[in-house]
């Protein structure tokens, strides 16, 4: 590692010097330019918001700064000393701490141990004293006036308290710059408020914080500086007063985003396709009741960990509920296994399509047909290849999958096209009910609209569709109704004009 003094690069007028500056960082992964000439200045006592869509390079930038990745070119300046690269130890020694979304805590250890252990490891301590650890943890917890049970095992804590533990851990290691990845995604309204109060206290201590987030209203509420990235570049940066939610969205996506809402008119007499009654899985969700009509698209939303995914997984037979009933077209469905759900006509596009929804090394054609072999049998129970071929080429065309041909392995496809293959796999089975979990996560803006359009088409042909998502504009754009799940219960149902980004956010945070 080369160290050389660098004179302040901040142009005149501002005599504060940044704790950490990033100068002209570039990084390539194979053919992808993940970061191109990125610069950033972080000042003490300031909250800096780093915004951008999925895959814009935010996480790569954090990894470079925290030493998990080496940049191809550029400089990281800490306290006026330039480094051509960092490593994890030197980053921690310089007071740079990253709190990832999963917090990297040890669930079987106590809160006190989690707070203290990492810093003890950093100074290569040989001995450990529970009383000294408790005292140190107590000091930081009291200083921040938090209500944390130091003797509790971290595994038993709520997400918000895990986050507080992670923040305390960072501060015990004398953090001066704290990066927080999507810090509010899994928090309720009151928890977010508590976090922001804590953030103010940390600012008073002169800590610099970087929030990585895509929640526009929160960005404006808590930060002083905003930097927006798109395709590996910084598109704009400045004090928060210069931005509003609209301009941030424009910079993030590169165009004006209009909240379009296109939903079909459902006839009143449309038959109920899916009926869920009193569904309960203790510890995950309780007493879930709703129905979906033929041709209807409903949205299910809620905070991360609210139970929305578990409800979907139960409908698909992955998690057997404790009690309750599910009927498809009036017929009761046994929810004991995936096979039961599939034969009842329920399809499920999972959250993590790469590991759960696709055979990555196999061709597009094999993936499309993988779920519907029984629908393509000849009378001898062997595969009817003519029928298979017809289905594959029909769906390949219909879903406008961008690939040279159907023989290309799925691994080579972009996020949007891979998602279309997962969709095609389920459409090949002709489901009566299709459940999609985060259908456009990691998909670019153009593909996103096409995928939503596809869903509208399928609903128009009589399918009942459930979209699980925390992307409010997406729900507004295509859903007839939106159900809000809070702590395992459906707490709100938005219909008609109530389906708006503001109403959904209000209801979720309540």
């Amino acid at each position: 590692m080369e160290n050389e003094p660098v004179t302040s690069t901040k142009p005149g007028g501002d005599e504060r010097s940044p704790i950490l500056s990033v100068r002209g960082i570039s990084k390539r992964f194979g053919g992808v330019q993940a970061l191109a000439d990125v610069s950033l200045d972080l000042y003490p006592g300031e909250v800096h918001c780093l915004a951008g869509e999925n895959g814009c390079g935010k996480s790569t930038l954090i990894k470079v700064i925290s030493g998990a990745e080496t940049p191809d070119s550029g400089k990281i300046v800490v306290d006026g000393v330039g480094h051509s690269q960092m490593n994890t130890t030197s980053a921690i020694e310089s007071g740079i701490q990253v709190i990832y979304q999963d917090f990297s805590l040890f669930p079987s250890l106590t809160v006190a141990e989690n707070i203290v252990l990492t810093s003890a490891v950093a100074v290569q301590k040989k001995f450990y004293s529970a009383t000294a650890a408790a005292a140190r943890a107590r000091a930081i917890v009291d200083e921040l006036q938090l209500d944390l049970d130091l003797d509790a095992e971290v595994g038993t804590l709520s997400v918000a308290n895990k986050q507080l533990t992670a923040i305390c851990r960072a501060l015990v290691s004398d953090a001066r710059v704290i990066f927080m990845d999507e810090p509010t995604t899994a928090l309720t309204h009151t928890e977010v408020k508590r976090l922001f109060e804590l953030v103010d206290k940390l600012r008073d201590r002169g800590v610099s914080m970087v929030f990585v987030s895509h929640k526009l209203s929160e960005i404006l509420q808590v930060s002083q500086q905003v930097t927006i990235m798109r395709s590996g570049k910084v598109v704009t940066s400045g004090p928060v007063e210069e931005f509003d939610t609209r301009s941030i969205a424009r910079h993030m996506t590169g165009r004006d985003i209009e909240d379009v809402r296109i939903v079909s008119d459902l006839p009143d007499e449309a038959p109920v396709q899916l009926e869920v009654e009193g569904l309960t899985l203790k510890g995950a969700y309780w007493d879930v009741n709703f129905n979906v009509k033929k041709g209807e698209i409903i949205g299910v939303t809620g905070l991360l960990g609210s139970g929305r995914t578990e409800i979907a997984e139960s409908l698909f037979g992955l998690l057997t509920p404790d009690h309750g009933q599910v009927r498809v077209e009036g017929e009761r469905v046994q929810l004991a296994s995936i096979a039961d759900s599939v034969s009842a006509g329920i399809g499920y596009v999972p959250e993590d399509r790469l590991t759960q929804g696709l055979f990555l090394e196999k061709s597009i054609a094999d993936n499309i047909i993988a779920g519907s072999l029984n629908q393509h049998r000849s009378k001898w129970r062997t595969l009817d290849f003519r029928k298979v071929k017809a289905t594959i080429s029909r769906l390949f065309e219909e879903l406008r999958i961008k690939a040279p041909n159907v023989k290309a392995p799925v691994r080579t496809l972009s996020g949007g096209n891979a998602q279309r293959v997962v969709l095609a796999k389920w459409l090949a089975t002709n489901p009566k009910v299709l459940i999609l979990n985060g259908p456009t996560v990691g998909v670019d803006v153009g593909s996103k609209e096409q995928i939503l359009e596809l869903l509208r088409e399928q609903a128009g042909q009589g399918m009942a569709i459930i979209v699980i998502s925390d992307d409010e504009p997406e729900l507004v754009s295509c859903c007839h109704r939106v159900l809000v799940v809070t702590k395992g219960r459906i707490t709100d149902e938005l219909v008609g004009d109530d389906v708006s980004v503001e109403r959904i956010q209000e209801s979720m945070a309540a």
Binding site: L109, T118, V121, A122, F127, Y128, E153, G283, A284, K487
Partner: protein, 350 residues
């Protein structure tokens, strides 16, 4: 709230409290059934037979906390002790007991180093590696050290084998407490202190909990893992020497195949087979429980062949309880706090 906290403390983080109750229940039940059971003779006999399993269990505890499993420890124990005895007999030297333990410990450390190096450097599954080295170590011992049964031990060891710390006659015959019980007690206290008071001990829990996370947090995982297996070798060799001394003969076929009892004891003692959990207190209770069960089943006349079956069932029950509760936990997206909030909210509604 305070009562709940005290109850939680009494139950222990790994259900040690429950285990203690079960142990007490069996002791009381057996004493009522058969008064001979509740005597110093039985107590001393149980302690004597628990000595070697206890020391071995401590070594297994370390590995299990770190998220691994070791099945080579009985072979490491007997190989290091048997080799030591063979060297002493072949050269006709007689050395103080401390030196006997030191030689065995050195051999145990080398064997442990082999395990640790292969596992930590190449990140291989611990079960497979130790299953492999178990065969290698055993074969190497039989080939290069010998397969002979020595009925006579070197004089110091033979002398130690008859030393008791307590020795008296009761209505039920002679009751004596062997001196090597002290070795088990000292080893137990040492391992307890290491786990509680050293960063090495705390690192074991962290690594067992989340290997990647520990790595990211700056723990030196490779070093810690290698050190763990070296320690396992050293502790196991102590057990080997204790075993040969107490049985007054050196048999290279002894101990081998006894993994089941030891691993069952540690798992019953609350150590999680998935890593990150386990306590010395629980392990002591687990070992005693299995010894008492073995002893009492024999007393009520259960054929010894069924003892192994009983221990096997206990192991599966122990792991089963862990696995089921782990699955419950994974399924539970809401923490205990959330559920409490919810019930409070429901009560308010009502």
């Amino acid at each position: 709230m305070d009562i709940r906290k005290t109850l939680r403390k009494l139950q222990g983080r790994n259900n040690e409290g429950t285990l203690l109750l079960v142990l007490l229940a069996i002791v009381i039940g057996m004493s009522l059934l058969n008064p001979v059971f509740f005597t110093a003779n039985t107590a001393f006999a149980v302690l004597r037979s628990a000595t070697v399993p206890m020391i071995l269990a401590l070594s297994v505890l370390l590995v299990i906390i770190s998220g691994g499993i070791d099945v080579s420890f009985p072979v490491v124990a007997i190989a290091s002790a048997y080799t030591t005895v063979t060297i002493l007999l072949a050269t006709g030297t007689d050395v103080p007991m401390v030196v006997v333990f030191a030689i065995a410990a050195a051999i145990g450390a080398i064997l442990g180093l082999v395990n640790g190096f292969v596992i930590a450097k190449f990140r291989l599954p611990t079960l497979i590696v130790t299953l492999g080295t178990q065969g290698v170590f055993f074969g190497a011992m039989l080939t290069y050290v010998g397969a002979k049964y020595f009925p006579e031990l070197p004089p110091t060891m033979a002398a130690l084998s008859t030393v008791n710390i307590l020795d008296f006659t009761t209505a039920h015959g002679r009751a004596n407490l062997h001196v090597l019980v002290l070795l088990a007690i000292v080893a137990t206290l040492l391992v307890w202190a290491v786990l509680k008071w050293t960063m090495f001990g705390r690192s074991l829990y962290a690594i067992g909990d989340d290997y990647e996370g520990a790595h990211r947090a700056g723990f030196r995982v490779v070093r810690t893992q290698i050190l763990t297996y070296v320690l396992v070798g050293v502790i196991a060799s102590m057990a080997g020497v204790a075993h040969i001394t107490m049985s007054r003969a050196a048999n290279p076929q002894d101990l081998v195949g006894g993994e089941l009892d030891i691993i069952a004891a540690v798992v019953l003692g609350g150590a999680s087979i998935f890593g990150g959990r386990g306590s010395v207190g629980g392990t002591v209770l687990g070992v005693l429980l299995i010894q008492v069960i073995n002893n009492s089943l024999l007393l009520v006349g259960v054929p010894s062949a069924w003892l192994r079956a009983a221990v096997g069932i206990l192991l599966i029950v122990g792991v089963g309880i862990q696995a089921v509760s782990a699955r419950r936990k994974a399924q539970r997206v809401h923490s205990v706090e959330d559920v409490m909030d919810l019930t409070v909210a429901q009560r308010k509604e009502a």
